[in-house]
Symmetry: C2
Subunit: 184 residues, 2 copies
DNA sequence: GCTCACATGTAATCCGTTACATGATTCT
DNA sequence: AGAATCATGTAACGGATTACATGTGAGC
């Protein structure tokens, strides 16, 4: 049984406790989103498949009239999760960066546009950096309260990563501004 | 007329000279692939669409019996390319990193597996770094011979980016090895 | 003669997002 | 009363990869 990466996201989130599809999505949005996103359109069908294969079990919680199905990881699911984390082999690593793509072709424009492009890129990454600092508190709390170290280390990686790109933008902007323009 | 990002890749590559679909694909593989990949399954249909909309023109080159259609950028295509590079607004930036995803959930495994995971991640990025250094010579030549600065800057960004992650892996490995394991 | 690089394309498939449809509960 | 949040799901669509099908030309 081949599990998609996104199904491991679900298994991983359920390992931290009993959760609904909605809660999984919310958690993803404040934790893994920056290196692995997931939408309702993936999560709900995948929950069904994982239940069918016995990796998770869902129980309806009648609280009032609101429908709500919370899922728990089964031993089988936990095993699959741990095997995936520990499995060697190649990783799916993929970057799509429209900013870098434009930058690659930026010989086609003038210096002003080049600098403006770098500013646009930098602003995007600064915004993400800010989101990550907002999130960090929660990850820190999870570390202190429940001993979960890795979510915090992951957020800190994310912040350092955004900083790296922001600084590259600033350095490169300086470099471009200083050296004379040669329009090709 | 809405162009996809990948069609701009094609326009951008054609701006550097007359090229076949095959050549565009080869070029992408040694230049933009690390932040924007493209496959034949996208390139050939997209060439057709771009030709239909008048952004590029293709001419058959009868050299021997081998079929070959090389494309050139039209003024319309060049305009579209430049407008895209200079256009502000939000950029499509997306990262999918299975290594970070596993790392996020790594509280579920032991210290040995955690260290091994970091090694796996590091090795992947070292491999990409090596590919980029192989490419760099070509980008440098393009700079010196044809004044194309941005491809070289982009490769250098890529190398620095890989180095950043490699170093993070090394730092984090040290951190994990030093501090006592607390299995949750 | 064989293999590799050149060269063009399409079909099936996968993965993922967006938009839509529906409704209950809680907070202001 | 109205808005925001909780909650579940599906259908349409888009973007991209993989595998397949086909054939030429150059070098060993």
């Amino acid at each position: 049984m081949e599990l998609s990466k996104t199904s491991y996201v679900i298994l991983g989130m359920l390992r931290l406790g009993r959760r609904t599809g909605y809660e999984i999505k919310s958690l993803v949005d404040v934790s893994t989103r920056h290196f692995w996103a997931a939408s309702y359109g993936q999560i709900y069908p995948e929950l069904k498949r994982l239940e069918d294969s016995g990796m998770i079990t869902g129980e309806a919680e009648a609280q009032g009239g609101r429908q709500r199905r919370a899922f728990t990881l089964t031993p089988l699911g936990e095993e699959a999760l741990e095997a995936w984390i520990a499995s060697g082999g190649s990783l799916h690593i993929e970057l799509r960066h429209e900013g870098m793509l434009r930058f690659f072709f930026a010989d086609a424009t003038g210096q002003d546009e080049q600098v403006e492009l770098l500013n646009t890129i930098r602003r995007e990454h600064e915004a993400v950096r800010e989101q990550l600092t907002d999130i960090r508190g929660g990850a820190e709390a999870a570390h202190i309260e429940r001993g979960e170290r890795f979510p915090l280390m992951t957020v800190d990686f994310g912040i350092a990563y955004q900083d790296f790109i922001v600084n590259w933008c600033l350095d490169t902007e300086r470099k471009i501004s200083e050296s004379p323009e040669k329009r090709s």
